[in-house]
Subunit: 202 residues, 2 copies
DNA sequence: TGATATACGGAGGGTGCCTCCGTTTGCAAG
DNA sequence: CTTGCAAACGGAGGCACCCTCCGTATATCA
């Protein structure tokens, strides 16, 4: 009855949560294909909500950027979790790095969002890199444990390398190019035993 | 009389050139202090020209960004030229690097302009780095020639290091921090002979 | 010293940002 | 189930900025 200084007098309404999610989904889609300059009304329309609703959930454009960004980072982290259990380590790692490249790709359109990541709260950047490193570690660890990959390459090395690769490459089709380079790298990462199954004598 | 397929029937008007310059100057000032989001009307006002004039010279916002960017790169290049003749090599280099840090500083506000540099014509980026490397070489070369600095650090190393430093640092007063680090680095760059003028025995 | 191409200024139509408020709806107490 | 209400919703509209257009001014050239 009383909420005076107390906590949540009610639980958040279901439609509010649903709408918030819809807006984030729409924003992600629109931003990654049209860049962040696109009008927010378009986002609201795509999400099937009124413009007012959008602004209630995300008072400023930056707030929306940041929420989209955070959500994608979270999703990447969850993906890593699933991949560790669903796939053999190295394949999982490769799959995850592919997702990471796509993530960076959408952020390239989002110059603004990146500047935000570099400028705004240092906390956001710390959050990002720690989450990312956790995720990579989750996939890289078991592989190292199993003796499948070299142990002198850490999650942070890998992360920095991918980001670096993405930002150097720039022409059309750069994503494929990055993946090719990455595959070469991953191949180098593997520890090859003299496994006869790998070298069939004719 | 006839210009049919011929070249420039007239030379460009003086006021046009002057106004173009004024707009660039104003844009630089406004963008570096207020970010690139600031209204273009403000730029026109500061430049003392009509909004129409601004748009005639720079049809789109991006065109203006790019022009400002190019101009600053050119100015940095020219600065290097002057410094080579007016100052002892190392002092000149230091002075120039300071200007470079300021340049990057204004570009940090300009997330958009940077995204442009990364995205738009690869030519712009090539232009930038080659100009920059020339400039550094101009200052570093003589110093190396005179045996004042190590020879295993090239212009591109230096350039990348400064950019990297600028983008890692981020709090308030980061520029001073960068310059401190740079000074340490420059000190390390010097070749110290056993020059008695440097070690006065008491 | 004209003639004229060129540049100038700024009013104004269009578009997107964001606020505000009347209406709707999910939640929970009776 | 019904009823009360806080929470959420949609979208009209005010405001600011973007850019175009055209009548006026002026530098250049004959």
């Amino acid at each position: 009855m009383t909420d005076q200084l107390g906590r949540s007098p009610r639980k958040p309404r279901a439609d509010a949560i649903r709408n918030r999610e819809r807006v984030l989904e729409a924003a992600k889609a629109i931003f990654s294909e049209g860049g962040t300059e696109t009008g927010l009304e378009a986002v609201a329309r795509k999400a099937g909500v009124g413009i007012g609703t959008l602004y209630r959930h995300f008072p400023t454009r930056e707030a929306l950027y940041e929420a989209v960004y955070r959500r994608e980072v979270e999703q990447l982290a969850e993906l890593a979790q699933h991949l560790t259990t669903d796939m053999p380590p190295l394949a999982g790692l490769r799959r995850w790095l592919l997702a990471l490249v796509e993530f960076v790709a959408t952020k390239k359109g989002m110059g603004a969002a990146l500047a935000l990541a570099a400028h705004k709260p240092p906390e956001l950047m710390a959050f990002t890199t720690s989450r990312m490193n956790e995720a990579i570690g989750m996939l890289l660890g078991p592989a190292a444990e199993a003796g499948e990959v070299r142990r002198d390459i850490g999650p942070d090395d890998l992360l920095r390398m991918v980001i670096g690769l993405c930002y150097m490459q720039d022409g059309p089709g750069w994503q494929a190019q990055v993946m090719r380079l990455l595959d070469v790298f991953l191949d180098g990462l593997r520890i090859r035993r003299d496994d006869p199954s790998e070298s069939p004598r004719s």
